[in-house]
Amino acid sequence: MRPPGWLWVPAAGAVLLVVVPLLGLVAEVEPGRLPELLTTQASIDALLLSLRTASAATVVSLLLGTPLALLLARGRWPGQSLLRALVLVPLVLPPVVGGLALLLTFGRRGLLGQHLEAAGLSISFSTTAVVLAQSFVALPFLVLSLEGAVRGLGRRHEEVAATLGAGPWRRLTRVTLPLVAPGLISGCVLAFARALGEFGATLTFAGSAQGRTRTLPLEIYLQRESDPDAAVALALVLVVLATGIVGTVYARTIRPEPTA
């Protein structure tokens, strides 16, 4: 079943729309100046901070998102679809709205923040705030990937394991999780990528201090003001990282669907 040939025309338009701006960015890079632009203390601090916080956010998403994805995929309980919809909201929310929501919750005068503050815990302007903002936007990616993987798996393997006398915990750790490992890994990679690109919520909620809260996207935003070449060089780093990440995930998802 071949699709109609004329589909190539709009499809080419779609590719151009996505690829040409990236080429425009790459064309602006002066390769000779790259080492100098990328090795300033500010750039290195931003890159290291981004890698650190995005890793932390991925771990948070993994620890909290895995149980949720399993319950959403396997359980049957009241309010399930509503909860799924709610968890996915950060996917479609403008980042600045996410930042505002976090601010009003964890900020010094926020819903929870005022109690934390009273207990001597201040989240504002800290790296914790960055990780919180990144986890907020990254978690849905992990939940979505993993839930899809678990659903796609079907129940047969688990049922067989049950007839062999395996309890729920054993079925989960010995059967289900190993089988959905590819989905879990691509979920983690997507969550990491989303955390790496987080901008609006960090800016609104965590502020911008070198080495503490100024992640790569914030550094790009700031450098654009004074040194557009440095901004472009850093942007290239993010594009390369993103391309690598998407490439990794895509290589996994073109595998044939499980036929269970």
Partner: protein, 246 residues
Amino acid sequence: MRSGVTAALVVTALVLTACSSGPDPEQTLRVGAAASLQEPFEEIAENYEAEHRHVGVELQFAGSSDLAAQISNGAEIDVFASADEETMERVSADVAGEPTVFATNTLTIVTEPGNPRGISGLGDLEDDTLDVVTCAPQVPCGRAAEDLARARGVTLTPVSEESRVTDVLAKVTSGEADAGLVYVTDAAGAGQDVATVPIRGADAQPNRYPIAALTSAPSDEAQAFVDAVTDARGQRILDDHGFGLP
């Protein structure tokens, strides 16, 4: 219920009259101005349109550096008003004639309403227990803050350096920061949401706002807009909004 219907009719009538007021302008004048100029420039543009019926003014407010970057990349802007001379310098190739300084602005400290931490001047901001927010040195308000701190021999260690002066203000009005350095015009705009602590000597180092017609512009109309900003009436409007006059 009836009053609701009446109100709806009145609103509709107002909208319709607003749409049909006067002939359509034949020309559009695009003005790019620093974000801090929004309120006075809206007033000035209104006056300008009343006097130049054939021209419609399209105002665009953004960070000065953003606007400068757009102009360098060929954006169609006819008049540019920047928050400092350094930024205007960056587009000198696109400027027709000489830029004119039309307003000044100075920095001030803003704190939570009532100034609960009792901040009395720039020196008090050295206190480590205070969360102080400034602009980043890469943008005009941050450069001004740095220069001022250096001149006064004060070392600031801000918990955050923002790219926009409005973000500094937001960090203070939301209660996240104890104090911030913003322009007096921003502080005036925030009204009761902040307390203002003047900085001694700040007016000795004001930011100077230049305006210029750009080479792409329909020159007479662009020059007329520059005049509307620099003449007595324009200057009075800027003064009303807290700007200093050159």
